[in-house]
């Protein structure tokens, strides 16, 4: 079975995000970028499936600026077999929207015919949480989102999901789309020798035009603001005062 994993290049989770002066988005100029952590989990899961013998080949796909090939190299260094880069923007600030990404992925999937797609449940930059679902709809495939555990049984994937109030296990017939949640696994570090070998693994460079997909944004960003600064706390003199404040001022009791 071939497993396809889409990966997105996003602002590194350790970086303190700053909003651009004009409020059009987060400033990404000269900011450290990395693979979306949920996608890293998806790559790890694909590698584990391969190690267990449930998958033969892992193809990673990234859509965005040219520099996304660094993200693909990271996935190759972790253990993916080959990569496809779809260049769809010149400016690092251009975010390709989920529908366009899903359309491009559908085109790739039509060519590659994978038995399973594992994607991150969402990207940490815009938190859309939509691409996997849209892709399932476009392909007419089954989907299992927020996976905390995946087991392959023949042509069925048994997926355990974290839901409100507990765990839910469902079976989805493959080919299918599974999106990875935080607790699915803990991704490995790419070893240094594998980082070197990754450079020799195949990486196909394509453009959005090659697939005839229009990536022009449909959404308009009205404003981007930083979270309000934390206000200083107050010291209370007694437990009674605390309870009164929680009741009357904070309204939480």
């Amino acid at each position: 079975m071939k497993v396809l994993v889409p990966v997105k290049r996003v602002i590194d989770y350790n970086v303190k995000a700053r909003v651009k002066a004009d409020g059009s988005g987060v400033d990404l100029a000269n900011v450290k970028m990395s693979m979306n952590p949920f996608d890293e989990i998806a790559v790890e899961e694909a590698i584990r499936l391969k190690e267990k013998g449930a998958a033969e080949e892992i193809v990673v796909v990234s859509i965005g600026v040219k520099q996304a090939q660094e993200t693909l190299r990271t996935a190759l260094a972790m253990g993916a077999d080959r990569a496809i880069l779809i260049e769809a923007a010149d400016d690092v600030h251009t975010d390709i929207e989920p529908l366009a990404v899903a359309k491009l992925l559908k085109a790739v999937i039509d060519e590659e015919q994978p038995g399973l797609v594992i994607a991150g449940k969402q990207a940490i930059d815009n938190d859309m949480n939509a691409t996997g679902q849209m892709l399932a709809a476009l392909l007419g495939w089954g989907q299992a989102t927020n996976a905390a555990e995946i087991e392959i049984e023949g042509d069925v994937a048994k997926v355990t999901r974290e839901i409100d109030g507990g765990m839910q296990t469902l079976k989805v017939k493959m080919p299918a789309i599974i999106t990875a949640d935080l607790r699915l696994n803990e991704p490995r570090y790419a070893s240094l020798p594998n980082i070197m070998k990754a450079k020799k693994k195949p990486l196909d460079a394509k453009t959005a035009a090659d697939y005839g997909v229009d990536v022009a944004p449909r959404l308009t960003i009205v404003a981007t603001t930083e979270p309000p600064a934390r206000k200083a706390g107050v010291k209370v003199e007694s437990v009674d005062e605390l309870i009164s404040k929680l009741k009357n001022e904070a309204g939480v009791l």
Binding site: N14, E70, R73, T74, A77, R188, Y189, A190, S191, L192, P193, N194, I195, M196, K199
Partner: protein
């Protein structure tokens, strides 16, 4: 000769991975290492899997083949975490592998380098003896020839990684007629060779989790073919050690820089948070002076380490420059450790803060791989010799 190194884009990816490993795995494990006097087994396994043991071994033997400059940058990043982690790979990255890389026979390279590169075999360097440290060329451990074999007898002291070692690079006197350096050969001795006893690990001031111990050799029989470079290299052990030394001194300069940056980061964070007289101490001028002195010295340390590394990569040797770098950077690290504890004030004396541990750990840098005083004499001899050639 120095490794050519890897492509820049690959190196940046390697560096980024090590930085992340340091931040996410090594630094959080430091208190456990200190508490248990041992690096947790899962971290050791991860360090091996990551390929850290093989950074100075060529790609053809399963390593990375970093240039000296790249090694310096990677080691600086690694030493943002406790020096204890670096200590585990240090003896393999240094003479353990480099002795074989530079002077080993093809058979020795094929036998040992792939195992060393993955950390499957950990190497220790057995040079220092109870009576001989800085005057290492006078060591007494004897290697008596018996047919095609040598019989080794003697005691080695403060041998880093001895309890973990699967192989020793052992310096022993193969020719009793010659009392100096030319009577010494370097032997590759598997640790399970009969007659080798590793004593109880030493109790140290700092670097808990890094192990040193005495190693006793009693009638240890090794073939002449185990001399680094084969039997024809008998008596050249010191030449091999000297060749490796320059690179080792650049490596230590990078360590000193990395751990100093860590200490300054700790002290700066503290100075920004800690308030006295109703403002952060980072705004008090005398604290600012200490912060500025640390930063300035770190900039000088890094520059010096990189200059020496570059020279070594170009020329294959940099004895005086590497000694200057080792001397300056390790002494500066001592000053920085002292200032950083001072910035912490009373808290800096408490084991609750990492700076107390880092302060103790860093003390060793001025002592091992050539004390500051040995570096000074090397530097002075080097410059007098150069001046004599110029006049």
């Amino acid at each position: 000769m120095a490794n050519a190194g890897v492509d820049d884009d690959i190196f940046e990816a390697l560096l980024e991975t090590v930085e992340r490993f340091v931040r996410e795995r090594l630094i959080p494990a430091e208190p456990t290492v200190e508490e248990n006097d041992e690096i947790p087994a899962d971290i050791v396994a991860e360090m091996k899997a990551m390929g850290l043991f093989g950074i100075s071994i060529g790609e053809e033997y399963g390593g990375l083949g970093l240039s000296t400059m790249q090694e310096a940058r990677l080691i600086e990043a690694l030493c943002n975490a406790s020096l204890v982690f670096r200590s585990l790979i240090g003896t393999t990255v240094g003479i353990g592998s480099q002795g074989i890389v530079m002077d080993g026979t093809e058979a020795q390279k094929r036998e040992w380098l792939p195992k060393l590169a993955t950390g499957e075999a950990i190497s220790a360097f057995a040079l220092t003896e109870p009576d001989y440290g800085s005057d290492a060329s006078r060591i007494k451990t004897s290697a008596r020839r018996e047919g095609d074999d040598f019989i080794i007898n003697g005691t080695k002291r403060y041998i880093t990684n001895a309890p973990y070692a699967s192989v020793f690079t052992l310096m022993a006197r193969s020719n009793p007629e010659i009392s100096g350096a030319r009577g010494i050969s370097a032997f590759i001795v598997p640790a399970d060779t009969p007659g080798i006893t590793v004593a109880k690990p030493d109790k140290k001031m700092g670097q808990r989790g890094a192990k040193t111990a005495d190693v006793i050799f009693e009638n240890v029989r090794v073939p002449a073919a185990s001399i680094v470079g084969g039997p024809e290299n008998e008596g050249k052990g010191f030449v091999t050690a000297m060749k490796v030394l320059d690179r080792g001194r650049v490596h230590i300069s990078a360590m000193a820089t990395g751990t100093s940056q860590r200490m300054l980061n700790e002290a700066t964070d503290y100075a920004m948070d800690r308030k006295t007289m109703e403002k952060p101490i980072a705004e008090h001028q005398l604290v600012q002076a200490m912060l500025a002195d640390c930063q300035t010295e770190i900039y000088a340390m890094r520059s010096l380490a990189h200059m020496a590394a570059k020279l070594y990569d170009e020329k294959g040797a940099a004895p005086m420059e590497a000694a200057c770098a080792k001397y300056f950077t390790t002494e500066a690290a001592g000053r920085i450790a002292d200032r950083c504890v001072q910035i912490f004030g009373g808290a800096g004396y408490m084991a609750e803060y990492a700076i107390e541990r880092l302060y103790r750990d860093v003390r060793l840098l001025r002592i091992y791989e050539g004390t500051s005083q040995i570096q000074q004499t090397t530097i002075a001899k080097g410059l007098v010799k150069r001046r004599a050639e110029q006049r």
